[in-house]
Amino acid sequence: MLFNSIDFAIFLPIVFALYWLLKNFNLKIQNLLIVAASYLFYGWWDWRFLSLILFSTIIDYTVGVYLSKTSHAGKRKALLWTSILINLGFLGFFKYYNFFLDNFISAFSLFGAKLEVSSLQVILPVGISFYTFQTLSYTIDVYRKTLKPTKDFIAFAAFVSFFPQLVAGPIERASNLLPQFYKKREFNYNKAVDGFRQILWGLFKKIVIADNCAEYANVIFNNSDDYSGSTLFLGALFFTFQIYGDFSGYSDIAIGTSRLFGFNLQQNFAFPYFSRDIAEFWRRWHISLSTWFRDYLYIPLGGSRGGTSMKIRNTFIIFIVSGFWHGANWTFIVWGALNAVYFLPLLLSNKNRQNIGVVAQGNYLPTIKEFLKMSLTFFLSVIAWVFFRAENVSHALSYLSEIFSLSLFTKMEVRTGNTLLLILVFVIIEWIGRESQYAIENIGIKWKRPLRLAFYYALIVAIFWFAGKEQQFIYFQF
């Protein structure tokens, strides 16, 4: 079920009403409703893959229970690896099987050997990368004894399948989300209104910004041979806003929906395009994934301790794995490696934590220096997104070589209508709200009620008015 569908618009109020009607009953029944609703939400897309979620839930719950019963280091390690291998095994099969197979065949053909192995027609289960990482975080935390294993299967099943964030995150840590299923949730008016506001902003980002940008980005990327550098740069710019609107919009809807049900999810995007360097960008982009890799991969590898070569190695590993997490294509790996290249000079010169706070905090405008830094960081991310969007690496390279040619200074061949103006309005609103959790969190809060309502109605009318052709959420494929 898509957040921007009528199906969800019917599903949500029904589940919401049932959920709060049950609040005076047993907490387990309320959690069971969440599990049922989440399975319905997921099964709406393809019910067959519910078995994967259920299997993953049973495995990690069982591993957790057994980890609590044994203190034998060897047994604990075996249990941990059982969970890791099963979860990553599913992920590897569904997401990476054909990639590895094709690359093995290509590698063998370099030596003159011809392998006759046919690839499989595998459907990628929506959100498998997200819930796999979420359940893994539970098992690893239990193994590390930083989290007590749960004995409440229903609560654990609800944690794994919680529908607002099941298919595209934020990837919640068990230590944050799981305990919320143990406690009775009380309805909080302000929290629910805030949730609604965040859903509204998420829908605006997705439907108005991302879907409209997607129409241009798709045309330009799919026919890149026909366009000049200026148009290709515009295409990359559209994709830059498409992916941000799409993914951060989804996260806003997920977080807002969770708030309606009394849950707090972690912030997943913190205005990354206002970052002053790439290190700051990565602290603000897809925060739940970045911190996951930091805690479960980068730090165990040694992090930024050790010598220069160790730092370089770990940085490349984390960025490349992060890129590969997005999809089974060399484009994602190159995208990750390119970000590592961007990041390394900051790390090696110990400047990777120089921009921690919000840019131009308390001011209307940034300083010229801040503006130039933001522009450079933004430009670097636009270039990196070309690899993310391209069909293959050679497509990305030819796309970029055209951008960096003299045709960059020719007239654009695409008419953009109102879309650039929409982006400008969007950037202004985001700038105004950059000190909040999401852009409109505090906009209009102190206005008089009619004015505030007019602002929300204007956003809703804009959503219906500027609705672009409906596009699948990009991150569903990951």
């Binding site: 569908s5 009528i6 199906d7 309805f187 008016y189 629910a192 209104v193 929300y456 008015w465």
Partner: protein
Amino acid sequence: MKTFNFKTISFLLPLMVAFVVLEMLIRYIPNDYSYKKNYLDTNADKIETLILGSSHSYYGLNPEYFKSNTFNASHISQSIDLDYKILKKYSKNLTKLKQLILPIDYFTLYSRTATGIENWRLKNYNIYYNLNCSNEISENSEMVALGLKKNISRIKGYYLRNHESITCTKLGFGFMETPPADLQLTGKEAALRHSYTIDNKDNVGMLNAILNIAEKMNIRVILITNPAYSTYVENLNLEQLSLTTKEINKVIGDYSNSKYFNFLNDTSFEALDYRDADHLNIKGSKKLSIMLNDIIEESNSK
């Protein structure tokens, strides 16, 4: 909680009311689908020749040039599954039907309205024809399918500026006078757009289902492949084309009530007969309609 529910409902209520009012206003605007449905509801028992199919038939076959009582029930991008549903729905009312003209073009056995770029048209079959093609809400609502901007423009056009919204003639022909398009460009583009790599089993099943109904109704089925300009034909995928021909030959062998006429390379159609590389213009449609009428009359006289 009560305050929240009350405020939420009072916030959303004006939006819901506006949604319903706009949906009603749009549905009251007459269109080709509502017109053809009403025509079939009231005149099905008088029709002797029924034309189905996509834009190729819509712009290519004019019932005025048929001697028998003919109606063109084709629509732009109407795929064979929708042809089947329309025929099935009216099969009991089409008491005088003698022949059905069913185009099997290069793409017919490989494409569906529901899965193509024109899938927004599916709502017309649900809303106006009541064919129950889909339970998706987005395919059962004008407001959801087309969005606010387009619908406001339709409402303004019809209610304020009296713009006519039915584009077909009384007998269902798509009468449209447009300047000719670039035949080179449209030929290449259309051929590419109509080339598929999908399995055709379901659409062949639909073709068989139509022929079954026709057999039960004791009517003839005239299968045709519409004429197209050479720039379109030259760019077709030969494998898809030969597979289509193979399937057609199979069904005409299986069903004695069917005959096939291939106009794809018919040299009597020249550049001036086309509005673009795969659609006839008014002149070309007259030519094709007269040719088909002659075929029907000739077989009636036997």
